[in-house]
Assembly symmetry: C2
Homo-oligomer: 122 residues x 2
C-alpha cells in the first residue's frame, strides 16, 4: 500500500475535464433557476444544446439532491391539475442566490484571465 | 465515523473556486510554455496581472514539479554566464503539447457553453 501513497496521482486530461464540468454544472443549474423555477427535465432541456456542461439524466438528480440538501435550492412536488405524474419543481433559495452571485463573479474573473492567456478562439 | 460517511460533503463556494483555479493554473502554465521556455519566476511574472488564476510563489513549484513528473514539461538548469545563481527553465514536451491541445479544446467548449447560460458580462 505504501508504494501507492508515495506517488501523487497523475491528473490526466479526463480528470481535469471532469472537474471543470462539475464546477460548470453547479453554476449552470443555479444560473438557470435564477431565471425561474424548473423541473429536472426542464433543466436538462435548457442544457440540451450545451454538451460541454455535461449534465445528463444520470448526473442531474444527484446534483439537485445535493443542492437541495445544502439549502441552495428548494424542491416542491407539483401534480398536474388533470392528474397524472407529479414532478418536483426547483427554485433558488436566498442562500442559493448568494452562492450564485459569488460563483458568477469568480467565474467571470477566471474566464477573462484564462482567455487572455489561452486565447480568444471560439 | 459512520455518521460522517452517510453525508456527502457540502461543496462550499471556496472549494468550488479552488477547484476552478487548479484547473486554470495547469492550463495557463502549459499555454504560456507553448509560447516559449520560462522559469518559475518567468511564469509568475506573466501571470502577475491575472489574479483569478491564483498562482503564487507557494503554489507554482508544486504544480511545476507535478507536470515535470508527469512528463508534460521538462526542466533544465541554466547558470548565468557571468556566474551567480542558476535557475530551472521549463519547456513543453510533446506529451505536454498534446495535453494542451486537448485541454484548450475542452476549455473553449466549456467557456462558450457556460457563458451562454451565465451571461457575457466582463
Amino acid at each position: 500500500m505504501q508504494v501507492y501513497l508515495q506517488y501523487q496521482p497523475t491528473m490526466d486530461v479526463e480528470t481535469w475535464k471532469s472537474q471543470l464540468r462539475k464546477g460548470a454544472a453547479e453554476l449552470a443549474v443555479l444560473a438557470l433557476l435564477d431565471t425561474g423555477a424548473r423541473s429536472g427535465i426542464g433543466l436538462l432541456d435548457a442544457l440540451a444544446d450545451r454538451p460541454a456542461i455535461g449534465l445528463s439524466d444520470g448526473s442531474i438528480y444527484p446534483l439537485l439532491n445535493r443542492l437541495e440538501r445544502e439549502g441552495r435550492i428548494a424542491g416542491q412536488w407539483e401534480t398536474p391539475k388533470g392528474g397524472g405524474r407529479g414532478q418536483k419543481i426547483y427554485s433558488l433559495t436566498a442562500e442559493g442566490a448568494a452562492a450564485l452571485r459569488s460563483m458568477r463573479s469568480a467565474w467571470t474573473g477566471f474566464r477573462n484571465d484564462l482567455t487572455a492567456i489561452v486565447g480568444e478562439r471560439r
